[in-house]
């Protein structure tokens, strides 16, 4: 039979082709999907939350994005953390104290802490972890966090191989105490220590860092169970946890979503408990859908600005920029175009930050089209009578950029257009190469909740992230004064003074603070988001 013979050839062609490409689709083992508890008010209930595939191996020194951060934050406890006003409280540390001139900081650890593999957390666990992370040979993206520590240049030279294995600034005093010597005084160094890169690693890490990245062992309220790549990560409560923020539920099940709409759908049908950020599509209705008491809309420590690039604006008086700022109706745009997903800004630093001054802008952020026009016209107008706002088109920015432009066109009668770049990388490339036409969309999330972080990193003339190339000796001097100050309060005050000068010089036009727009289902209670916009999962209780 011809038919049968031909069919045989078809079959052999499949076999040959598959063998040639050697593509065997290996089945992945799914852990059990059972995540439903039994009794009401179940202390062992699992919290199911939306997340995604962490971009890096799960090592604190390599995690600098939110999806990996969600896992690291729950697996590791930091030395200290911050409340909603940006004030410090201790977590794993008993105390973190500076010496008189703020150059040497002494960390004393709390007693009784263990890693999830049962070994003790000691001063060495910290010192060794930091030395490893700072070493340039280990290719950790967060290594620059250790740059303040004396001896960093030896393990992380500008060029060539490291000349030492350890930073001379880190000294173990005893089992629970170590000191950090800085290259120069930093009055707020304890704020930096609140970043998750300053966490300890167990001895087992150094045997096989790669395996650790797939199956991390931390010191936090949850221990690691499994990671099914692209699908889910499971954590369970660590029962030997010595800290005060012990988990009130049995564990966390982080499910990967690549679009927030699908996560919202699962939340509505009870297949998910918490969604960290509602998609723009669902923002208008989510409070009705879920009920007011199961949603939250609150600002967190992130700000959005539009930044004039000074290589194109240097001859323009700052009053013009004040005028442009007044032409923008922040209240209406945040409520309508952005559906309440932002809060109008009145300062260069968001409210959850220590040193935030309410109403620091005076009336510069108040919508006043007439005064705006007056200010712009009296001071010579906008360069070329044209503003272009550069943004990355791979995130939801187009709508608000257009709204801001419409405000500017209406009030000032000049040209204003959006200048979309394909994605964030391309956007950054243009900024780094000084090729921005007029203004770019600036954004900043707090590394630590202190006004210094929102001012020095963005507007100091020497700051690397100052892509607007703003250069003011007066501001630099005030920053330097803050850095020389003898105490945290003096530093903060000096920076507050600098902020007032910024409002006169307008290195950027603050628009709004980012909001958390989150929702949760009837199966969980006590859901709270901190000032970094991150859910406090250890406090969540599960009813079933």
């Amino acid at each position: 039979m011809r038919g049968a013979r031909s069919a045989k050839w078809v079959a052999s062609a499949i076999v040959v082709a598959l063998a040639a490409t050697a593509c065997g689709g290996g089945d992945d083992d799914n852990g059990d999907n059972g995540s439903d508890g039994a009794a009401a008010g179940n202390p062992d209930g699992i919290v199911r939350i939306d997340g995604g595939e962490p971009q890096n191996p799960l090592v604190p020194a390599n995690t600098n994005e939110a999806l990996g951060g969600l896992v690291i934050d729950n697996l590791f406890s930091k030395l200290l953390d911050f409340d909603d006003e940006g004030q410090i409280f201790m977590v794993a540390a008993e105390s973190v104290e500076p010496n008189e001139d703020n150059t040497v900081w002494t960390v004393t650890l709390k007693e009784g802490w263990t890693f999830h593999d049962g070994t003790d957390v000691t001063a060495e666990s910290y010192v060794n972890a930091w030395n490893w992370a700072a070493n340039i040979s280990n290719n950790q993206a967060n290594s620059f966090w250790f740059a303040d520590i004396a001896g960093y240049a030896d393990v992380h030279p500008e060029e060539g191989d490291p000349t030492a294995e350890e930073m001379s600034g880190l000294q173990v005093v005893d089992e629970r105490t170590f000191t950090i010597e800085l290259t120069e005084a930093v009055t707020y160094y304890d704020y930096k220590l609140g970043y998750s890169v300053f966490t300890p690693l167990p001895e087992s890490f150094y045997e096989d860092p790669e395996a650790f990245g797939e199956s991390p062992v931390g010191n936090g309220p949850y221990s690691f169970v499994s990671w099914t790549h692209g699908e889910s990560i499971e954590l369970e409560r660590y029962d030997e946890y010595a800290g005060e923020d012990a988990a009130q539920n049995g564990g966390i099940h982080i499910r990967a979503y690549d679009n927030p709409e699908a996560a919202y759908t699962d939340l509505q049908t009870g297949n998910l408990d918490i969604i960290r950020q509602v998609a723009p599509r669902d923002l208008p209705l989510y409070q009705q859908d879920l009920g007011e008491d199961r949603t939250v809309a609150q600002p967190y420590n992130g700000i959005q600005t539009i930044v004039p690039v000074w290589y194109n604006w240097e001859d323009t008086p700052p009053e013009v920029l004040q005028g442009i700022s007044m032409a923008i109706d922040r209240e209406t745009i945040t409520q309508t175009v952005l559906n309440g997903s932002r809060t109008p800004a009145d300062s260069f630093a968001p409210p959850g930050v220590f040193g935030y001054q309410e109403g620091a802008s005076g009336d510069i952020t108040t919508y006043d089209p007439e005064r705006a026009r007056q200010l712009v016209e009296e001071n010579g107008g906008v360069p070329g009578d044209r503003i272009a706002i550069q943004y990355n088109a791979d995130a939801a920015h187009q709508e608000w950029v257009e709204a801001v432009c419409n405000n500017i066109i209406d009030a000032l009668d000049i040209e204003c257009v959006g200048d979309p770049k394909v994605d964030f990388d391309t956007d950054l490339e243009a900024r780094e190469a000084n090729e921005v036409q007029s203004m770019y969309r600036g954004g900043w999330l707090a590394d630590y909740p202190l006004n210094v972080n929102f001012l020095k990193e963005l507007y100091a003339s020497y700051a690397q992230t100052n892509y607007g190339r703003f250069d003011s000796p007066e501001v630099d001097e005030l920053f330097a004064e803050g850095d020389r100050a003898g105490s945290l309060e003096e530093t903060v005050a000096a920076y507050q003074e600098a902020e007032q000068v910024l409002w006169e010089q307008m290195p950027a036009i603050p628009l709004w603070y980012q909001n958390v727009n989150a929702g949760w289902g009837p199966n969980v209670d006590n859901v709270r988001f901190d000032s970094a916009g991150v859910p406090v999962l250890s406090e969540v209780t599960v009813s079933e």
Partner: protein
């Protein structure tokens, strides 16, 4: 026939090398640097960036990089991801089963439902059934896949609660049914139209009259004579469509949250993970090539007039 298959398989090699080369170059030409992207908005650590580039071999000229990549590929080494430092082959083999399952199910639905509806419409040409099927298939052709996907999800998944609106376990065929249905909708409608036309045309063919005149049972007349001859254009379409289904799965996977090739290639593209993108696209190319070969061979099965020497 055997020599024909071998020749076709050999022809795949230059096509494969050429296409990987083009994709590799395109990835290289894209703006944005994967190592720079590790720092996001922050200013990068120049020393660390240089060290990473050196370790990853990104310092080499592009042709050397391609040579390293392709020689690795021949030895079964798909390379390593820059960010996650995972083997690309692991990433692909984790994402592939879900997409294959989804595509297979969608293909099955397309073929079975499409051909059945087409046959039905063709046999009842001009009657109410035919017009009903015409209406439904035109509707499916005119609505984009993502609209259909969201509609199915909203009604079957959320409003009526018949079926899970997203896929939580990609090994569960029941959960895959909804996305497969959405994915299959468009092709299904095409197959219906195509089959119907073909059937209507062949119904009046001479061999049909002969078959009836011989007194063959109706089932045999339709099954062996009418359908088999009418399927030739449909098979061509189905072959091309298998590749289209894999590509279309990218949209469907997003809507229904399936951990498949679509998500993998999308995230890799955003992160400028060249090795991953080239690996996945090369795989899809191989699928296209193999399916094209199979379709050509199937012609011989369906139509005795075609022979491959």
């Amino acid at each position: 026939m055997g020599r024909y298959v071998v020749r076709r398989l050999l022809q795949m090699i230059p096509v494969f090398i050429g296409s990987t080369f083009i994709i590799f170059m395109m990835m290289y030409a894209l703006p944005g640097d994967p190592v720079r992207a590790l720092w996001g908005e922050r200013a990068p650590d120049e020393a660390q960036m240089a060290a990473m580039r050196r370790d990853l071999g990104l310092d080499d000229p592009i042709l050397v990089q391609y040579w390293n990549y392709i020689t690795g590929l021949v030895q079964g080494d798909f390379g390593t991801q820059i960010r996650s430092r995972r083997e690309v082959i692991d990433v692909i083999s984790e994402a592939l089963p879900a997409t294959l399952r989804l595509t297979a199910l969608a293909f099955l639905i397309t073929a079975v439902v499409g051909i059945s509806l087409g046959l039905l419409a063709g046999l009842r040409a001009g009657k109410k059934t035919d017009r009903g099927i015409l209406f439904v298939s035109l509707l499916l052709i005119s609505v984009p896949v993502f609209v259909i996907g969201y509609l199915y999800q909203t009604y079957f998944g959320i409003k009526w609660g018949w079926i899970s609106p997203t896929v939580r376990d990609s090994e569960n065929w029941g959960e895959l049914l909804l996305p497969a249905l959405a994915l299959a909708s468009l092709s299904l409608a095409y197959v219906t139209r195509l089959t119907r036309t073909s059937i209507v045309e062949n119904r009046r063919a001479d061999y049909m009259r002969t078959a009836r005149a011989k007194g063959l049972p109706q089932q045999r007349v339709i099954g062996t004579h009418l359908l088999r001859n009418s399927l030739i254009p449909v098979v061509t379409f189905l072959g091309v469509d298998l590749g289209n289904l894999m590509a279309g799965a990218i949209v469907t996977e997003g809507i229904f949250n399936i951990n498949g090739i679509g998500r993998a290639v999308y995230t890799a593209l955003n992160a400028r993970e060249g090795a991953t993108v080239v690996g996945i696209v090369s795989f899809i190319i191989v699928v296209y090539l193999v399916v094209a070969l199979l379709v050509d061979l199937l012609y011989a099965v369906l139509d005795p007039r075609i022979r491959y020497a």
